[in-house]
């Protein structure tokens, strides 16, 4: 099937322009992070007047970036682990059993996924403040409290995706295990989970990425000691002097873990995401 010239040229032009559009911010991020301060505080320059790696050392001193990093890591990691582990059980039940209320459960899970975060933010904020007043448990501003709020989006997503994955694991596999005398839990962990590992990895990566990039809950539910990268990074930009080269360096540094993870696990993630969405 030979493509006509018009098609080839359209393709060439379109894809080149699109790649330019996509890479423009990446170029700005990388090049600006290697520029001296006078280059980023004057008119924009395509090429730096001098090359420096200083911003990469300064970012840790201007704001406590390492602390923010740690907070993000703990919060995103814990939210991911919690939601994936709990979703494994729930998805197994939905995928393999028939029970009363199954439809109500799946519809609820699916619909909470589409609700705006702001809907849950206001009540959760109020609940945290009031629980703190009544019991002295400081949920508001704590990492645990933030992790719980992250489950509002990572849990329904994980359950939904894992149901799809478990459905694609042939039933005969775990039924054979059950016939062989395995309990349902053993069948789940010996047979279904190993067979669905690519899906579980995909769900985990996606949940982590979403939590790592979350801004809304992080901006309300954190204090000075629990601030995540999403909020902390804005610290560079709202000061009187904006150290744009440091902002760009910090943006790059916080992006590297997720982009690297994404590229490594891209295959799983893309397959999982599209399988879930196209189904």
């Amino acid at each position: 099937m030979a493509a006509p010239r018009s098609f080839l040229w359209s393709r060439r032009i379109f894809l080149t322009l699109l790649a330019g559009f996509v890479l423009l911010p990446v170029y700005v991020m990388v090049s600006s992070s290697l520029k001296p301060l006078q280059d980023v505080s004057g008119s924009f320059r395509w090429l730096p007047s001098g090359f420096t790696v200083r911003p990469y050392f300064d970012i840790w001193k201007t704001v406590p970036l390492a602390d923010y990093f740690m907070n993000s890591l703990v919060v995103a990691g814990a939210a991911t682990v919690c939601s994936v582990v709990i979703a494994v059980f729930a998805a197994y039940a939905v995928s393999r059993y028939r029970f009363r209320g199954k439809r109500v459960f799946t519809v609820t899970v699916l619909s909470t996924q589409m609700f705006p975060g702001i809907l849950f933010l206001l009540p959760l904020f109020l609940i945290y403040v009031n629980v703190g007043n009544a019991t002295g448990i400081a949920l508001f501003g704590s990492r645990a409290g933030l992790i719980l709020t992250y489950l509002t989006f990572s849990l329904p997503f994980s359950i939904w995706m894992l149901i799809g994955y478990f459905d694609s694991v042939p039933r005969e596999l775990d039924e054979a295990a059950l016939v062989d005398g395995c309990g349902p839990l053993r069948a789940l962990f010996r047979v279904v989970v190993p067979a669905a590992i690519p899906g579980i990895v995909a769900v985990a990566v996606y949940a982590f990425m979403t939590a790592w990039g979350e801004v809304l809950f992080a901006s309300v539910m954190t204090n000075d000691t629990t601030r995540t990268l999403a909020v902390g990074l804005q610290g560079y930009a709202t000061q009187n002097d904006v150290y744009w080269n440091q902002v760009m360096a910090a943006s790059l540094v916080v992006s590297i873990p997720v982009v690297a993870g994404f590229l490594l696990l891209q295959r799983y993630l893309v397959a999982g995401l599209t399988a879930g969405a196209v189904k």
Binding site: F14, A93, F99, T108, P116, P123, N130, P184
Partner: protein
Amino acid sequence: MTTLTTPPPPSKERAAPPDGKRPARLRLPARLRRVSLPYLLLLPALLLELVVHLIPMGVGIVMSFKELTQFFIRDWGAAPWTGLDNYELSVDFDAPVGEALLHSFFVTVAFTVLSVGLCWLIGTAAAVFMQEHFRGRGLLRAVFLIPYALPVYAAVITWSFMFQRDTGLINHVLHDQLGLTDSRPFWLIGDNSFVALLTVSVWKGWPFAFLIVMAGLQNIPKEQYEAAAIDGAGMWQQVRRITLPSLRPVNQVLVLVLFLWTFNDFNTPYVLFGKSAPEAADLISIHIYQSSFVTWNFGTGSAMSVLLLLFLLLVTAGYLLVTSRGRKSADV
């Protein structure tokens, strides 16, 4: 399902875990256990759903009927009931609060329609153009996924740097290099902010459409193209007659998901503009955030959230109804 109810062979059962009492315990409550097992598996998820979704939603609805200002945040039970006042205030479009909400609603609708449309268009075009192998296709695909992989705030902060009036790339290109504008326009305040927001949203959102459409393309049987080629259909005709119609079911899901994400997007405007967005780019999620956490009126904020939810449910239900009817008539 039937095999689950078949009792395991006794010999194997004895060989299973070192649990002498097991067969005896299994006998009587076996039916009960079988019935309750799915619920036990669901229990952790149900509990969490209750804690993170159902209770907050209930509290949110109650909040919307109260006069919940900053004085009552520490003890919200003491906040006076106001009945439907918060709702009346939100939908009184002649008064400032309602007027601002209506404005923000229209901005959000316009923004969502444009952003979803552009994301879909670019994503579909890219996927169609990359359907066939060519040199560098794998690399290009990886490049196209970058906006999707980057953390939102890192990407949006970079865009906000590019949109800076004096130090940004956009004005440097438009004004200094191309001379398209007389002076350096502001991008993050005033009317231009809508364009800036849309640009960032499309940059960030189209790769998702690209991914989903690419997956959809893989489901189209090759024979259809071969048959069409034999019948003398050109490349463009094949795209129009085979590719696009075959993508319909995929597109229906894709557009709904993109719509909900874009409509509810908070991260992009918040990082781009901060706590209060310029009027031209005052998306509804930021608007509600602002009326709750900046002007500290949680009751009104909650009422607005509930209205937003009702609107989204209505649109989604309507959309699903229309598309499923379309699908049924297509099957006939």
